[in-house]
Structures are given as structure tokens and as C-alpha cells.
Amino acid sequence: MNDPRLHFKKPLLTSPFHARTSALNKLNSWGPWGGYTTVLAFDDEPMEYTAIRNQASVYDLSPMVKYKIAGRDAAAYLDRLMVRSVAKLKVGHVHYTAWCDDGGKLLDDGTLFRRGASDFMLCCQERHLPWLLDSAIGYDVAVSEISEEIAALSLQGPCSYSVLKAAGFEKAAALKPFQMADFKFGKSGAPTISRTGFTGDLGYELWTSPGRALELWDILFEAGALYGIRPIGTNALNMARIEAGFIIANMDFITAEHAVRGDRARSPLEMGLEWMIDFGKGHFNGRRALLEEKTKGTSKWALVGLDIEGNVSAEHSLIYHNKKDEVGHITAALWSPSTKRNIALAMMERPYHAERNGDLWVEIYASRELQYHKLMVKARVTPRPFINLARRRAVPPLNY
């Protein structure tokens, strides 16, 4: 299989952790993500979710699309691309950001790691190399796709620091949320640990080379035995991310480069990302369109959190005003085990997201032993995130 021409025999790549994840995947439950085969559930989805909120969980993050952006003009270049101010991102820090086409429609969202003054890593859901390269014209910057060169694990849960400490990374205690640092790893080398994650809980992401992936996995699992560490699949992670109110490209919104129907693309103002737009930093992609949208108030949609009556999850449901007029749809939903609320992310037509959100109803087709029952249940717009844990922010991390 070293012949690069033979990928047709196995189109999906396996992650550097595959030897471990495949051994533990008792359900043999796999799904494609970013060109890799990834675990949807290892053995027991509810227990995997429980590990995220009560113990320590490990998610294989390697399939994330990653670009290295380096060079004298890297910061200026990224400031030109991103809606958020990159100048304000300090070395050794990470931030969540988004980027738009010229029409102010979201191309993707992701995390930007500033490893050095002129050295960045961009992690995201979709692939953007042509766009990144075309945008680089005129900048002294080199952009390369490095997805396969980095292995990454997301260690999340209240005990995640305890696991790190037991694994010899006790200095990670000093990391504030969205900070990162390199740590000594075994006999040589340095994994980068960032205090980041997609769960809304205390958590870290560990980045290393594929060659040392298994070693890192083994260190964590050995250290985490007493903390209930367990590998989790995408399904459990998805539960936690909805509670945390995080959005996923091409699940909660269609990225502009994938939208076949031109009107499907969404602006960051419509996706609740206005807080990150820095109109004052100078020109950036989509600025003119976004400024016009903001000043003229022409946003058509709004992503909101919903609190829905009852306990039947409202996935794929339509939302009505006055039980009659269709005014939106659910993009993600679950009955939240942590908050015991029936929550959802919803794409609402304005002004039903706010000014006229008093009479909203969700139409749910509830399957009860193969018979569908149509429910029309009340929904309230509610702030995101649905959970807001102090332990996510505490420095040093709380001791669990």
C-alpha cells in the first residue's frame, strides 16, 4: 500500500491512531470524515458522552484539515483573510475564527494557532488550498497543506488535566483557555498541547507527529486508567458540542464554496459570529458586504439556540410561527443529558429569531416503535451555550 497510485483500493485514509482505535472499536462503527475513516462509536455512546462530562475522553482529531501558513507577511495575510483580528492573536495562543468570500458569506470556520510571530496553523473542516493560495498573491507567505503530517488527540472532560498531570505534562496547569505550549515528550521531542476543544468542558488538544502518535495514545491511556479515560466517537462528541453551542460547517450552515443553490450560503452575522468580526482592523475578505449587511440590517437568517418542550429530540424538524407559517429549521438537536433540557440549534428567518419569537412551535415526528406521531411542541429562543461550565475556564484547572 505504499504505492501512492493504489489509493483506490482504500480511498479513506486511516489515522495515525488507527492501530489503537480499530482495536477498541467494538461496534465496528465507522464513518468518513475529511478523507479519513473515523470512529462513530466505540462501544457505548451514552457512556462515551458521560466520559466527556464526568471523566476524561479521548477523541482522534487527526482528520481535521490543517494548513501551515508561514512567512514574513503571514499575520498580515491572515488579517486580510479572516473576519477576526489576527494582529490581536498573541504568539502561543489559539483563536476561533471564520472567513468569508467577497460576498461576505462564510467559507468555513476553524481555529488558528499562532506558533510564532510568522508561523500559523489553520485547522478547519473543509479544504481551501486554491483559495488560500490565490489570496496569497502579493504577500510574502507560504501556504501548505499539512493535514497528514500531524496527529492530534482531543482530551476532554473534568479529569483531563489530572490525566495530563499523571502523564507527566503537569506544567499544562498554567495553560489558560486558548493558550498552547510545547511539552517534553518521552525521551525526545515535544508535543504541543493547547487548551482547546469542542465540548465546552475542561479539555486539551495534543498535537504531535504521526510517528509518535501511538506512544502519545498509550501514555494518556496508562495515565488515565483511574480517571475513567475512554475513547469516544463522533456521535458522543456531537452531543457535547451541541450543548456547548458550537457549529459545524456543512451541518449547521453550508459553506459558500459548496452551496449549489446560491442563496444557501450564510454570513457570519447570520450565524451568530458577529462578535468576532473586526471591522476596524482594515480591509478583509467580505468586509464591504458584511458592513453593508450590518448597517442596512439585511441579514435574512439567524442561528439561535432553542429550548423545546418535552424530551423528544427535534432533529431535522421544521419550526413554525403561530403553528402555521414555516419560519426555520433545526440544524442540530438533542435531549441534553447535562442540562436535562431538550435543546436545539435552529436556523430562523428573521425577525422570528428575536422580535417575533413569542409563538414558535416545532413539528417533531416522534418514532414510537415504528409508528410516527406528529408532535407540535412549543419552543423558546434561548442563549447559547446551553451549558457554561466554570471548570472550562478555571486556571489552574480544578482537581478532579
Binding site: R5, L6, F8, P11, R127, L129, P130, L133, E257, V260
Partner: protein, 538 residues
């Protein structure tokens, strides 16, 4: 002598589709075919013992699912076997493959260009946008923009609404796309020559344009908007050869009470007092009918089978000017085994797909330069496949049929007719090209049929050997196809209709012209339409 309600000239796929619909509506229908066999360009013949060829058309995707449903073609035996991907073999010994699997395809592109690998999604998205605009028009009679009839106005509004339903960027992009060359269009997305070469092929197949000619981008769409059993964009082989499509149609026709008379062509259409009243067959027999529908191309119909004095001079002039320049040939080969292509891994699925040997757009354009100079391409491009790797019914065990579509081949050689010697030399050019990528290839050849535009015209009846019954350039599409003022399947002669690929929406084994023509005829006769609505594009 029996009088028919409708006489259809030519048992090609469109003629049969029209005949089936008219027969289903209760009309007494006869199809007249000049050859001893039926099928037109969707034909399978056995020219070497034990082997069946797809002699002309060789793959299916565009055949409308609504037609397959209405005529119950699956019930009458039609099976389409989708094939997966293909490859361009490069001169340097490498290759670029295309796979249906998205990830395999991205990784294959990435072997050549990481950038292009990540550009393909946006390219596919844009092509899909164009398809979504054009596809619903395939099964609608084009509106005449000069007419004030309610139906024309409605149809114009329909197109207008679709156009203005798009975002501004989409509108700009669409108009550019319709008029661009495929070379310029691909340059906007891709950097690697071999990737562009693979993707350009669909834009020039069957068209007397080069990849650098404006207007070639649209032709690409024509090849992208089909599907096989719902697999959008897929192409497939008809089990038993492309003739299986027309065989299934003929069974459907028989079940509806229609007749086929093969073996004698139509010498001329009988016109009395400005109305078509029947046809005179070669040899002098007459068949009478209330209306005549021609599946022949527009030139053959009006310049060879209708007396010029029956037609308005302006119309005749337009028909003379209709562009139907032959651009391709076909080589069908019976093989003693599977050829081994040096570049391909031995179990590559590309063997079961389309193989090309032209690894840059520049080489394709040079091949077109030969066409312009009145000779076949010395370094032609091919769309070559071995359908028997997934359909063993066409050959004896262990043997194979190879279908080579070859471009460019001009309708005339240096202004003169093709000779048998020219034809054989053309065949040699093709074989030599394949052999340079597959050593030992020549030893596998048991029999071959070489078809130049001369054979395509003589046997299939396609004027100048143009496989689309007229080029798919923007000046000959929609309400201008085949000629302005005659886009609605009617002709200047009352009761003489057109149903072939010269009419909207054009060539390919699609059946849409045949169905649209039947719908117009039945509307005129105030008969019920025995057809399901075209599937909505949602």
C-alpha cells in the same frame, strides 16, 4: 393499402420514442427503417462470429428516466451497467485516474497537484449549478421568443424566472459559461495539464470545435447532466450493447401495437397541397399516413427527401447553413484478451472505465488543427473502453470488445471523399496510438470495424457523420435548434414533423427530442399525453 395515423422515418432511438408515445396514445403507427436492422446510432451488430459491437454510440447516461418509465424499458429488458471512472494515460508513462469515490479522486488529483485536488469541489459545484439550470429544459419544447401564444409566453416566463431566481454571481457565471471555451473555463479552476485534459474531453466529443474554441464549455454540460439509475453524472454500458436500448423500445412499441418496417429507406416524402401525406420508399412503394415524422437529421430530411419547391427558400437556406460537420470516427475491435496498459496497475478499475491518451489540451487542439486542414488527426484523442469487462454477454468467454471513439475525423479528406485506403490508414493511426500505451495490443486484434464520417453517413444516415445530428453550439440550441422559427418540431410543411437530435435538446442517446416531438404532435391532435411529467429538479 392501410393508411397510418403516423409514419416515422428512421428507427433510431428518437424515432422509436416518438413512435412509442404516439402508439400508446392510440395512433396507428409505422416506423420505416432503411437498414435491415433497427437502432440508428444506438445499435449493436455482430460483424464477427460471437462478438456484438456497440457500433456507434457506446455509453448511456442521458436517456431520460421519464422515458424509461413511460415506455417500461426495464421491463422490456433494458439494463444499464454504470462504469466507474477512467484514466488519461500520459506520454511520460504516468496516468491520471478519475474515480467515482470522492476521496480516491481527491487523492488521485493530489498526486498531480494538491491545489487542483482541493479545487475539484468548487468546480463540481459550479457545473452542477449549470446542469440544474439546463436540465429542466430538456423535456420542454423551447418557447419561440417571437411568438405571443400563451404557451410560448409561459415558457419564456419559466426560463426568465429561473434565470432571475439565481444570485447575481450565478447569472454572470452562467452567461460566461455558455460562451467560453472549455480550455479557458478549466484554467479558472485548475493548473495541471493532465487534469484539464481529462475534464476537457466531454466538451469536444462529437463537436467540430477544439478545446480552445469558444462555446465548447457548454458541450461539457451536455455530457454531465445525465444519470444511471439516479447516479447523477454517471455513465454506463447498456447490457448487450447500445442496441439493447432500441431493442427494448421496439418491444415496447410492439406491445402498444406499433409496427416497424425495416429494409427499405424513404426516397421522398409525399407532399400534396402543402401537406405531408405519406412516403415513397426506395423501389417505389408508397405508404400513406396522416402525418410524417422524420427522425433523420434536418439536412437529410429537407434537402434529400423533400422536394425543394415545397419549402420556403429562406428555410432551405437556413437548413443548408445548419452546422452538422462531422468530427469523429469510431473503431470497434474484437480482442483475443484484455490489453495490458503499461501505466495502469494491473487491477486498476480504470480498465473498466474510459481511457484517454491525450494528456494536454494543447495536444487536443493540435488534433483539431488537423481537422481544420482537412485530414484526420495524426495524434487523435480517444474515448476508449472495454465494456465486456463488466458485460460478458457481448463476446465469447475470455474475449473482449473494445470501443474507440476517435476525434478528429473530418467529413472530407482534403476536400475529397474518404477512400477505403484513407479509412484503413485512419484505423491504423488509432491502433498505433493504443499500441504505444499497451505493448502487444496489435496481436490481440481479431477483427475491427473502422467507421469514418463516410461510413456514419452511409450506414447510419448522419449527414457528414455528425453524431449529434448537428453541432451543440449555442447558435444552434433552444429556440434556434435546428433553425430559427422551426424549433417546435414542426416544419414548414403541414403534417411533416421532426423528432431527431437535430431538434431541441440535441444529440446523445437521450430520447428527449423524440418525446418532446410526440408531445407536440399529440397536443395538436388534442389527444391525451401518455407521458409522466418530467421529474422536477429540486
Amino acid at each position: 393499402m392501410t393508411a397510418y395515423d403516423a409514419i416515422i422515418i428512421g428507427a433510431g432511438h428518437n424515432g422509436l420514442v416518438t413512435a412509442c408515445y404516439l402508439a400508446k396514445s392510440g395512433l396507428k403507427v409505422v416506423v420505416v427503417e432503411k437498414n435491415d436492422w433497427i437502432g440508428g446510432a444506438a445499435v449493436s451488430r455482430s460483424l464477427y462470429p460471437g462478438f456484438t459491437y456497440s457500433n456507434c454510440s457506446y455509453v448511456s447516461s442521458l436517456l431520460r428516466p421519464e422515458i424509461m418509465r413511460d415506455l417500461e424499458l426495464p421491463k422490456y429488458g433494458l439494463q444499464i451497467l454504470p462504469y466507474e471512472g477512467g484514466a488519461v494515460l500520459q506520454q511520460d508513462g504516468g496516468y491520471l485516474a478519475m474515480y467515482r469515490d470522492h476521496d480516491a479522486n481527491r487523492r488521485e488529483f493530489a498526486r498531480h497537484s494538491k491545489r487542483d485536488a482541493e479545487a475539484y469541489d468548487r468546480y463540481s459545484r459550479d457545473i452542477l449549478r449549470h446542469c440544474r439550470f439546463i436540465r429542466p429544459m430538456l423535456m420542454r419544447t423551447p418557447p419561440d421568443p417571437t411568438s405571443f401564444r400563451p404557451r410560448d409566453l409561459n415558457e419564456l416566463m419559466y426560463i426568465g424566472k429561473k434565470f432571475f431566481g439565481m444570485t447575481e454571481t450565478e447569472r454572470y457565471e452562467m452567461v460566461r459559461f455558455w460562451t467560453m471555451s472549455i480550455s479557458d473555463y478549466l484554467d479558472e479552476y485548475f493548473e495541471h495539464p493532465v487534469i484539464k485534459a481529462y475534464l476537457a474531453v466531454s466538451a469536444i466529443i462529437g463537436t467540430a470545435l477544439g478545446p480552445m474554441s469558444p462555446g465548447s464549455a457548454y458541450v461539457l454540460l451536455h455530457h454531465y447532466m445525465g444519470d444511471v439509475d439516479g447516479n447523477i453524472g454517471a455513465w454506463g454500458f447498456a447490457r448487450g450493447g447500445m442496441g439493447s436500448i432500441t431493442q427494448a423500445m421496439s418491444k415496447s412499441l410492439a406491445a402498444s401495437g406499433g409496427e416497424i418496417r425495416a429494409g427499405k429507406g424513404v426516397d421522398r416524402v409525399l407532399v400534396k397541397n402543402g401537406r405531408a401525406v405519406g412516403v415513397v420508399l426506395d423501389g417505389g412503394d408508397e405508404i400513406h399516413g396522416k402525418l410524417v415524422v422524420s427522425n433523420m437529421d434536418v439536412k437529410r430530411t429537407f434537402l434529400k427527401t423533400v422536394e425543394e419547391k415545397e419549402l420556403p427558400a429562406a428555410f432551405v437556406k437556413q437548413v443548408r447553413n445548419f452546422k452538422i460537420r462531422g468530427s469523429s470516427g469510431k473503431v470497434n475491435i474484437a480482442l483475443d484478451g484484455v490489453p495490458k496498459f503499461k501505466a495502469l496497475p494491473k487491477d486498476s478499475p480504470c480498465y473498466r472505465g474510459d481511457l484517454h491518451f491525450t494528456d494536454s489540451i494543447e495536444r487536443m487542439e493540435k488534433a483539431y488543427d488537423d481537422w481544420k486542414a482537412g485530414r484526420w488527426s495524426r495524434d487523435p484523442f480517444q474515448d476508449t473502453m472495454i465494456p465486456t469487462l463488466i458485460d460478458p454477454t457481448m463476446t465469447p468467454p475470455g474475449k473482449h470488445f473494445m470501443s474507440c471513439f476517435v476525434q478528429y475525423a473530418p467529413p472530407k479528406i482534403n476536400g475529397g471523399e474518404w477512400t477505403d485506403k484513407d479509412r484503413d490508414e485512419f484505423g491504423k493511426t488509432v491502433i498505433n496510438q493504443i499500441a504505444s500505451y499497451a505493448p502487444g495490443f496489435k496481436d490481440l486484434i481479431l477483427h475491427m470495424e473502422v467507421r469514418t464520417p463516410r461510413e456514419l453517413e452511409r450506414e447510419v444516415g448522419l449527414t457528414e457523420g455528425n453524431i449529434f445530428q448537428g453541432e451543440l453550439t449555442f447558435d444552434q440550441l433552444l429556440f434556434n435548434r435546428p433553425v430559427p422559427g422551426a424549433s417546435q418540431y414542426r416544419s414548414p410543411i403541414k403534417d411533416l414533423w421532426m423528432c431527431g437530435s437535430s431538434t431541441h435538446p440535441g444529440g446523445g442517446v437521450m430520447g428527449a427530442p423524440g418525446r418532446n416531438a410526440a408531445a407536440e404532435i399529440l397536443r395538436d391532435l388534442k389527444k391525451p399525453l401518455p407521458m409522466s411529467d418530467a421529474y422536477a429538479v429540486l
